[in-house]
Symmetry: C2
DNA sequence: CCAACATTAAACCAAATGGTTAAGTATGTA
DNA sequence: TACATACTTAACCATTTGGTTTAATGTTGG
């Protein structure tokens, strides 16, 4: 018994869907387009070379992540940006914010704490 | 010739790697752990049930995305958070910020511009 | 009623993902 | 020298992903 995948992948986590949805250039371009206002599927598909079903799937992924919402109006599906999930990204990002504001102090602390032979790096980055 | 995948997937875009790296709970937990300071591979792997090679691969993905950097010190690989790429996420996020601050005005504008029969929804959302 | 239109669903495929185990490769240590 | 430690690589596997084409579903308009 090889039993390759043991844990069976949860995939239920909200952020998983969210970040996964953002990890594709097509989907990011769609989101960018939607900042200009809502649009129908065909309209969203126009800039891309791929088939309509392909775009349709991308939109489903964005929808599942909550990034866009859909209003069916006759045969036209009108998509609009939701934004709320992007705020969630922002929220997730927040605890890390100190890391691109002052990384150096923490790194320096660590270097001081464990002065290894090999860490004799030639002090590359100036602190201004 | 069925030629299933025509475009061959670029995957070279920086943001693709970045968001993909963030789209996994294990990797996000590793990042969270690293905000407390650098750590070795074994140490990072401890909270997880998966095998060491699995963690090693996750770390490679984080590294490829630039989210962590590695200092090999003897046989110990010390990982630290880099932060800079997370700032890139923030930068990418910026143009959307207005969407979780005031979505309503834009949506209303659009509804005004295209007054469809079927959109006679019973004014669900109050604006306060 | 019938044809064009807007869109999704189904079936398929290659490649990537996330895991596994087993086998390296260095480095420390007795 | 030999053994344990800290890792990575390699080979493998099931599932997911991102695309395709063809078919189906439901409007809209003549």
């Amino acid at each position: 018994m090889t039993r390759g995948s043991a844990t069976a992948r949860r995939r239920s986590d909200r952020l998983d869907d969210l970040f996964h949805a953002l990890a594709d250039p097509t989907r990011r371009r769609v989101l960018a387009r939607l900042t200009l206002g809502p649009a129908a599927v065909t309209e969203l598909a126009r800039p891309f070379q791929m088939s309509l079903p392909a775009v349709s799937k991308h939109l489903q992924i964005l929808e599942r992540a909550g990034l866009v919402s859909r209003t069916v109006d006759g045969r036209v599906h009108r998509l609009r940006l939701t934004g709320e999930p992007l705020r969630q990204v922002e929220v997730w990002l927040d605890p890390f914010r100190s890391y691109w504001e002052d990384t150096f102090t923490r790194v320096d602390e660590d270097l001081a704490a464990r002065p290894s032979r090999r860490l004799r790096a030639p002090a590359r980055r100036r602190r201004s």
